[in-house]
Structure formats: C-alpha cells, structure tokens
C-alpha cells in the first residue's frame, strides 16, 4: 500500500461511505469524492493503458485537463466511454472500467508495441498510406484501429433523455473559484442578473484545496459563505456541474449541465444532461490557470502527478497519493505542495528545483536539490524512484510519487474561440488572452494574477467595471483579508535535458519530445503542422496540459521564442460534450415537428397509408380488403375517379390571402402570366418564375373580391412563396398597397373529382353549382346545407370534372365524412396522393418533379403563359437570355414503353438508339413515371432535347440504377383526354 486515505481532513463526508466498483473490484469512497480521489484512496493509481504504446498510465491531475485517467462509467447502454475519473463525481453503485487494455489492466498484450516504438513514431500512420497501397486497407488500418484507441462506443440505444434551455443575464461568470465568487457577489449585490457556472459539483474552485485563511476562516468556509449569500439572492442563478464549452456570436455561450450524471438511476422526469444557451450582456472568465507538467524522461510512469493535484487530493479529499513524495519544480508551487503534504504527515523525499536559487521555503528538514533535473524514473506499474542529474552527476532518489510543477498557463480557451490569437507574455512566461471586446473579460488567474488576494481583488474590480458599464452602482465593500502570501513566480523549463527514456509531451496521444524533433526534421515544424504530424494536442483533452510545452519545445528546437511559434487554434468545445446533449430532445420522431392536416384523423379512420411529405404526413392510398400492394389500391382509386368520383385531402397546399388596392398589380408582377384583369369569382392557373427565369412555383389565383385574392402554392413551397412575397412587398415594391396573410391552417380543403363529382356536391351545397352557374374555373363562397360557410373552386388536377371545397379546418372531418356518406350512392372513394400523382401524370401536368430549378415555362410546354405584354414581372428579363431560348433545350414529352409490359422509372436518362451512355450523348431524363391504369401500361414524363419536334421517335430509356434499358416512344405528354372534354363537363 502506498496511496491511502488520510485519517482526518478534507471536504469529503466521512460519515457517508459509498461503494463503487472498478474493473470488477468492489471499493469504497465517501460522499464528496471524485472517482479519481476514491481510486487513489484505494491505492489504485494505475487506471489505463496509453493510446499507442499501451504503457501503464496513472492519474495525473485533479481536474478537467486529465490526459490519462479515462474510464468507461456506467453499465450497458448507459456506459460513457472516455470519462475523466478526475471530474466524475462518486456515487453509490458507480461502475467504472479501464480502457484500451487486453486482457487486463495489469497485463496488457498490446504493451509489446512499446518495444516496437522505433517503428511507430510520429507520422507513421501517414507513412502507411504511401506504400505498398494494397497493404493499407487489408493490414495497416485494421491493425492500427484495433491497437489504438480509447473507450468503445456502445451501440445500444441511449435510454437517457436530454434537453436544452435558454438563459439570459447581465453577467455570466465562468468559474466559481475565488475570482468568480467575488465577481458574482459584487455584481449580484449591485443588482445585476448573474449566472455563475462551474464545472465542479461543488463551488469554490481552488478555495476548496487552499490552506490559506480568508477573513480568519478556512478558505472553503469562506467559499461556502459566499455561495450561501449568492443562493439567497433572487437575481442569481448558480450552475454547478456546468461546463461553459463555447463562446458564440452575440455573446451567447454554450454550456452543458450534468443534471443526473452523479446518480446510478436517473429520474425519468429529469434530463440527464442539459445544454444551456446563455445570452449574456457581459461575461467574465474566472477560469483560473493550469499547472504545466514538466517534460522529463519517464514522466509518464504511474505516480508522476501534478504537484497541485497532490495538494488538492490531500487538502480537499483527504487522500495521500503516496508515502514518500518527491517534487520536481521550476517555481514556488512545488514548494507549496511540499509544505501542504508535509503538514499532513506525508514524507517529502526531495525537492528538485531546476532553478539555481529561489526564496521559496521548503518544509523543515527537506532536501532541496537546486540546478538539477530529473532524467528518468524507475518502477514498473508504479514509480519507485527518480534519477536526478546535476552537472553530470546522477543519483537515484527513492519515492513513490513524483509531483511536477512547471509553472502556470492561464485558461483562456473561451476568449480565443472566435478567432483571437493568444499573445505571449514574457513577464508571465505564458500565452494570455488578447483584448476581445469589452463584452468578455478575464479576471484572476485566467488573467495572470496568481495570488489569492490578487484573485479576490480582481474579481471585485472587474465586476465593478462591468456593473458600472451596465448602469448599476457597485458597492465599495472592503476586500476579504488573506494575510501573507508567497511569490507565485516560476522560471519556464520546457524540456528537462538529458532524458534517459521517453519524455512525454502529450500523455493522452503518446507524443514524446523526440516526435516533435522528427516533425521538425521532416518539415513539419510549424505549430499547426507539428500538431497534425505528431497528433500532439489532438486527443480528447485537446492538449490542455501538453500544448504549451509542445510550443515551448518547438521554440527551443528552432531557436526562437514561444511568441514566434504561436499556438494552434482554439475551438469549441472546451471539454467533450456528448452527442446526446447536443441533440437534446430533437431525436427520433422529434427530430423535426410533424404537421398534420385537419383531415388526418379522417384519413386514418378510412385506413389510409401515410407518406411523409416534408413535415406533413399525407395519405398515400386507402387500401381495401384483399389489396396486397399499394399499386392495387392506387389503380383502383384512379379508375374509380375516372369512372365515378373520389375525394382527396389537399389541405396541405399553401394558401395565402391578399388584400389591397394594389393586390392585383402585386400578383401581376409576381406571376409570369396576366392576372390584372382576372374577374371576381374566377380562378386562374398561375406560374411564378425566379429572377433567373426558371420556374419557381405554380398554383391557382382566385379573385374573391375586387381587392381580395386567394392564391394557392404547392405543399413544398408554401413557406418559400410566403417569404418570397414578403421580400417582394417589403424590398422590391414597398410602394404597392397590399397586405397578405397565410390561411393554410384555416381551411380543410378537399378535392372532389370524377364524372359524378357534381352529383355528390349537389347533395351538400345549397348554391346552384350547375355548369352554367358554376363553370370551369369558377371560385367563390358557398353555403353548405345546414348553414356552414365554405369556399368552392371549380379546378381540376386530374382532368376530370372536379371541385375543391374549403371548409373551416375544424369542420373538415365532419364534411369529409358527409361527402363519403352521400357519395356512396355515386360509388365515391377516398384517394391519396399516389393516385393524385397518377391522375396528373396521365394528364401531363407538371409538378415539382418537373420544376426542378432548371426548367423554363417553355421547357414544360407552358411558354404561352409568359405574357409578352406585361411591362415587368419577376423573371422577365433573364427569361430572354440566349441559353434559355435555345432551340435544343430539353422539352417536356411523354414516354410510352414500346414493349407495353416494360416499365420506366424516374431518374433514368434518355439516349438515341445505339449510342453509348455518356454526358455528350445524353438526350434528356425521365422526371416522373407511373403505371397508368387508364391505359394499362407504364407512362412517363421526361425532358428530351427539342422534344416537341420528336413525337413518334423511339428513344432508349437508360436506367443505370437497375441496369436496364427500355425502348420508349416519344409522345405528347397528355395521355388521357387531350381535348379536355371531361373537366369541362
């Protein structure tokens, strides 16, 4: 036993023990432990195998920068791979498993790769791409994939739920340490709406590990007092367990709250994680500073830890990582750790100081070796000693823990996520944040102020400035008393020379100092290149501990200053965020909202099969007993509409009402055909172009009164046409007096089509709807028997005698029921969008399958609709471009398979007989196809070069998807009733 729980001390609740399990071993910890502190208390320092070399690795840090202690937590579908044990809150029943080892953590076969490390240095992965090519997919890739890696992702469905929430505040404080707490308190007392977020489960930050007294009380007691005051204020929101991961436009911050990551069985009514989008007028980063590791030989052996982490484990968790601790330091922090551990009764083996002289006080009786370096460590799965070198003299110092302290780096990630580059400070030997606008500031250690009193004061000062800026009056309260403080300085040491074994820079990605040298030699010395070539800083910890050392080492190797090397780019996320949290509730069928027609229930009741059309669920067909395929139902529905009557839900089409003295002029400019003189009580087909002359959308325009119009759009373009109108009205023609409003949701709209349609309608409608009184393209208000006000349109999308009846949405189902009821005598049937499609195809009517954005009105045979007389309309000018009027453009034609048994599918291309398929030989394509029950064979619409001149010609329909060629006859696109006699009936 080397690591152990101290008999007293720490902020864990020793009266509340928790049992948990690591790699099958039952262990015990306390409430207030992290998984890491509990593992150390159980002498389990070895927690994983490294990424590439499978070297044994132990806990290094006590926070979110941890590179080694990545474990899989949770059982089955709930398991979270790559969770940092150093931030995972311990709970009763927690199960954790180590990663990247086989068959076990203690004996790992993959460790042989450490012996082969000469061959798998930096860039080896890329080199396997080069030669021989066949080996890549077959040998290298599978081998590398199996050997390398972290935890395994679970393929079961995640049973947890996630959510998102917005929050708004005057001041967002990121970090709940001394700086953040004082800033939040100052701002809150002044009346600002404050949000304080901290990733820890307990607020207080470094105060929880601090031995210095504040206002005569232990630092953690001071922290609790401040937290209690904040908690009582109504203008403060405290968000512990919340990591602010990103800074976005408009001072919006992304944060993830681990709502229930610290319980074995999450409550169903709560999300497991919650993503916050915090809209902050001002933000203050009080994110502290990160202690740097030192790069020396054997620095990755379990037991080599950050000196500050040793302090935290001893002071906050009452845990000693070892019985004999050696310190390797370049500044005062190493001495501070030694003093704190010594005070807890832990022996200090020696302090190795890279500096020649320092004021720092070592604990009494401790040996200090100055101007010295550590060149190697000894021990197998646990450090047993370190080799200290001074002026060529080597000495083995026995110890079971090495605490390393390489100085401090302010945590500035968030400030640099939006393009601002960190700037080098010679004075601090660190990169600091540049000025990134007054809306985000940094304070305390994040701002390079490392003393406790300095942090408390800077928090107050920055919060006061922000409060004043926002028009609040901050109080001038006295600062808390902190007493005497040590000088926090250090002398940068990027690489401890003379390493006798691998000196690791990036523990998580197994990058050591020589890899950086190789990168430089092979021409990848730029910091961004070196990062990719060596993968330094590319692991899940994003180089929180390693990046700065990599920069320092590259600078040293190149003989320049770190400022000349610069940093790699900071990007969200600060720490990894689960996909579940990012998706939030938008998952499965909630990924997008569902829109339902007012006739949805009617269709369901009538046995409809539904099809998704955008957000809509539309009835596709209405199968009857004995019908085995959709085709059978569709064929029956089509034939019944042609022979008798059918009703179809067309409520999903867009409907917009327009008003005003200039409404007619507005529409006249919007559509390419003339609408100015449309009589009241009449509907007209309308075709809308884009500015570039291609078809935008089509629909009908009805004039309900002199200054009152109703237009319909296709289902897909309902939103698009509405915003197009808004744009035209507000930007292009603000002088036109027109108002409009979507009424798509107000009306249930039913198409009634077929030779018996009038007979059916007469049963329902009070008004005279004979052909004389209500001819083709009539439109207007009618009254249904019983008094319900409705709108009726004599329009047809099937080529049959047809009406569209609009009733207020809530009455849709009752009216449709009634139509079915009275229609029984007329052999009515319900038909869905598939039959609707077949009916329009038989009539050669174009839809968005044809209007695919490359098609002009003339291409679809609608050239006569483009008014040559109107002064202007959208698309007029660009319609006359040479390319759009060329004679060999693809034109809409009909296609019939010569062998009537064959079928044609949409998407196929057209070729002259005997020609090879190629882009050059391409004659066109098939846009829509179906089986026509009226004709008894397949038909299709397609676009063919100069197609209208080629009726009667034979063409090859080349369908590469099905590897099939069918010879078809080119024909007029109107297959049924070209005289239009039926719909005029």
């Amino acid at each position: 036993m080397t690591a152990y729980r101290l008999t007293t001390g720490g902020l864990v609740d020793r009266s509340r023990a928790l049992s948990f399990n690591f790699d099958g071993r039952p262990l015990r910890g306390f409430v207030g432990d992290t998984l890491a502190s509990a593992l150390i208390a159980n002498d389990q320092l070895l927690v994983g195998r490294s990424f590439k070399y499978h070297r044994p690795r132990g806990i290094v840090s006590a926070g979110p920068s941890e590179p080694n202690a990545l474990v899989t937590i949770g059982p089955g579908a709930r398991s979270d791979p790559n969770t940092k044990a150093t931030v995972a809150e311990l709970y009763a029943g927690l199960t954790a498993r180590s990663q990247n080892r086989w068959p076990s953590l203690g004996f790992d076969i993959g460790a042989v790769s450490d012996l082969l490390s000469l061959f798998i240095g930096a860039g080896f992965y890329y080199k396997t791409f080069m030669w021989p090519a066949q080996l890549w997919e077959k040998l290298y890739e599978p081998l590398i994939r199996r050997a390398a890696g972290f935890g395994r992702v679970v393929l079961e469905r995640d049973p947890d739920t996630y959510e998102k929430s917005w929050a708004h505040c005057d001041l967002l404080v990121v970090g709940g340490g001394p700086t953040g707490l004082m800033a939040a308190l100052t701002a809150a007392r002044a009346g600002l709406r404050v949000i304080l977020a901290d990733e820890d489960f307990r607020l207080g930050g470094s105060l929880l590990s601090e031995t210095q007294a504040i206002d005569g009380a232990p630092a953690h007691v001071f922290a609790d007092r401040v937290v209690a005051e904040l908690q009582a204020l109504p203008n403060v929101t405290l968000l512990p367990r919340t990591t602010v991961f990103g800074w976005y436009d408009d001072n919006v911050f992304g944060a993830v709250e681990r709502v229930q990551k610290h319980v074995a069985e999450p409550l169903a009514k709560l999300a497991t994680e919650r993503v916050w989008r915090v809209v902050a007028r001002r933000a203050l980063l009080a994110t502290g500073a990160e202690e740097r590791p030192l790069v020396f030989g054997g620095n990755d052996r379990p037991g080599v830890m950050m000196a500050g982490a040793l302090r935290t484990y001893a002071n906050r968790y009452g845990v000693a990582a070892g019985r004999s601790v050696a310190i390797f330091t370049n500044g005062s922090a190493g001495y501070q750790a030694a003093r704190d551990l010594h005070a807890k009764g832990i022996a200090i083996a020696a302090i190795v100081d890279s500096r020649a002289a320092a004021e720092d006080a070592a604990p009494e009786g401790t040996r200090v070796i100055r101007s010295a370096s550590v060149v190697d460590t000894k021990g197998r799965r646990r450090v047993s000693g370190m080799v200290v070198e001074r002026s060529g003299f080597e000495e083995l110092v026995a110890c079971d823990v090495v605490g390393m302290s390489g100085g401090w780096s302010p945590v500035i990630h968030l400030a640099c996520q939006r393009g601002a580059k960190p700037v080098w400070s010679d004075q601090l030997s660190a990169f600091v944040a540049p000025d990134v606008s007054g809306r985000l500031r940094l304070a305390g250690s994040a701002n390079g102020i490392y003393t406790l009193s300095g942090c408390l004061g800077d928090g107050v000062a920055k919060a006061s400035v922000i409060a004043s800026e926002l028009g609040f009056k901050p109080a001038q309260d006295a600062l808390p008393e902190t007493g005497e403080e040590a000088d926090p300085s250090f002398t940068a040491l990027w690489y401890a020379p003379g390493a006798k074994s691998k000196a690791f820079v990036d523990f998580q990605n197994d990058v050591h100092a020589k890899d950086l040298g190789l990168a430089l030699r092979e021409g990848f010395g730029h910091v961004e290149h070196a990062k990719r070539y060596t993968t330094s800083g590319m692991a899940t910890d994003q180089g929180k501990l390693s990046n700065i050392n990599a920069v320092g080492i590259l600078a040293g190797m190149r003989g320049v200053k770190p400022a000349d090397v610069g940093t790699t780019t900071f990007r969200p996320f600060y720490t990894p965020v689960s996909f579940g949290a990012l998706a939030g509730p938008a998952r499965d069928k909630h990924a997008a909202p569902i829109r339902k027609s007012p006739l949805h229930e009617w269709a369901r009741k009538n046995g409809a099969t539904f099809v998704e059309a955008g957000l809509w669920y539309r009835s596709a067909w209405f199968p009857r007993a004995g019908e085995k395929t959709g085709r059978e139902s569709v064929d029956r529905e089509v034939l019944n509409v042609r022979a008798n009557a059918g009703i179809c839900d067309v409520s999903t089409l867009g409907k917009i009402e327009l008003f005003g003295p200039d409404a007619a002029e507005f529409l006249n400019r919007l559509y390419c055909n003339t609408l100015l003189k449309l009589p009241v009580g009449k509907a007209r087909y309308g075709l809308m172009l884009r500015e570039d002359g291609f078809v935008h959308d089509d629909g009908t325009v009805s004039r309900l009164a002199e200054e009152h119009f109703l237009v319909t759009t296709t289902t897909a373009m309902a939103g698009g046409v509405m915003s197009h109108m808004e744009y035209c009205s507000q930007v292009l023609w603000p002088d036109l007096k027109v108002r409009f409003c979507s009424v798509s949701d107000q009306w249930a709209q039913i198409a009634i089509a077929g030779p018996k349609a009038r007979g059916v309608m007469q049963q329902l409608v009070e008004d005279d709807i004979s052909d004389e009184a209500f001819p083709l393209l009539a439109a207007g208000a009618v009254t249904l028997k019983g008094g319900l006000k409705a709108r009726l349109f004599r329009i047809s999308f099937s080529g049959e005698l047809a009406f569209e009846l609009a009733v207020p949405a809530g009455f849709g189902m009752a009216v449709a029921d009634q139509l079915m009821d009275v229609g029984r005598a007329f052999d009515i049937c319900a038909y869905g969008v598939e039959a609707l499609n077949v009916l329009r195809l038989e009539k050669g009517l174009a839809t968005h399958a044809e209007f695919d954005g490359r098609v002009t009105p003339d291409d679809c045979g609608l050239g006569r609709m483009v008014s040559p007389h109107k002064a202007d309309f959208i698309g007029k000018h660009l319609s006359s471009r040479y390319g759009l009027t060329a004679a060999d453009r693809m034109q809409l034609v009909g296609l019939k398979p010569v062998d009537r048994e064959k079928d044609i599918r949409a998407g196929a291309h057209l070729l002259r007989e005997g020609m090879k398929p190629s882009t050059l030989n391409d004659q066109g394509w098939v846009s829509s196809a179906c089986f026509s029950p009226s004709l008894g064979h397949h038909i299709a619409l397609g676009f063919l070069k100069s197609g209208r001149e080629r009726y009667g010609e034979r063409i090859v329909v080349w369908d590469k998807l099905r590897d099939q060629e069918v010879v078809a006859e080119v024909c007029d696109p109107v297959f049924v009733d070209p005289e239009k006699a039926r719909m005029k009936a």
């Binding site: 917005w166 708004h168 909202p593 007012p598 319900l788 009634q818």
Partner: protein, 184 residues
Amino acid sequence: MIRDYYNRHALDEKLRGAPRPPSANHLAIGHRQAVAMALAMAGEEEAVEKLLSSTTEFAVRFSAPGEWLVVSENDTPEGLQRRLDALCSARVYIVDQSEARVLFRLSGPSTRRILAKGIGLDLHPTAFAVGTSANAFCGHIAVNLARTGEDAFELIAPRSFAESLFDDLMTMGREYDLTAAFAA
C-alpha cells in the same frame, strides 16, 4: 338534407379521456375562441393600433408591423369580424384565423423555466412585461407568445403543428409535473 357539422379540435386525440387534476403548472388548451388577423390598410397602422387597444373586448397580440392577432373569448368568429369591422371600419382587413390557430395557456410558478427550454426570448419581467407579445420559435415551431400574467403565458400556434407543440410542451414541463386539459 340539413346538417349540423361537428367542429373537431386539433388536440381532440391528444386530450381524449378524463383529464388529470391540474397541478400547480398547468397547460390549458383554448377550445372555443375567435382569432382574427387584423392587417392595417396602408397609412392606417397607427390609427388601427390605437383603435385595437381602446377596448378590452378582446386581446391584441403583435404579429408584425401593422399586423395583429386579435383573440376573443366571448365572440364567435363572425361576431369578432363584425366587432372589428365596426371598430376599425375601412382601415383594416380582417382574416379569420379561429380555425388556423391553437391557443396554449401555460400558467404556474415554473412557467418561465418551462418556456426557456424552447423559447430563446428573455422572459424576465423587466424584458417581457405582462401584455407583451412577440413571434418566436418554440423549439422548431413558430408561435406567437404573449405574457398574460406574472406567471402566465399564451402561445398561439398553427393548427397543423398543434400536436407536435403539445408533445414538446409536455416534455418541457415534465420536470415540473405539468398537466394539460381543455380550458373550461
């Protein structure tokens, strides 16, 4: 043949069966109300706004410059149309939206926290006082949101989205035991 057609609410399916007794946080679904869009004629925007706010017969919700949603608890759709015609004669176009919109009335101590899960607007009383209304997204769905009381909000959503919005609101409110029923 004389027919009296049944008017079916968009949430009839969702709210079938006996409702649970309302909890502190409750979602009441408006069942019978008149909603109209009032579109001011060119140049009449200010006059119409003044006229609409001159009465307490109905509630007025801002929709766009010169456009308001008018919600009445007492009038029929035709009655509201007549009332608005009489009030703002020849200054405004009235479009009936009674069937196009579904009213969701959320009340209770946790209302703001529930709404924050879907709506990005700052609903602090200093930023969104009682009587304020605005168009907003609730998750993926466009709504008109109004504050009708300290802890009471009204969401007006397109009918076709009503079931989805209902599901979303109930999910957002599950942490606070949100209940739902048709308004009395």
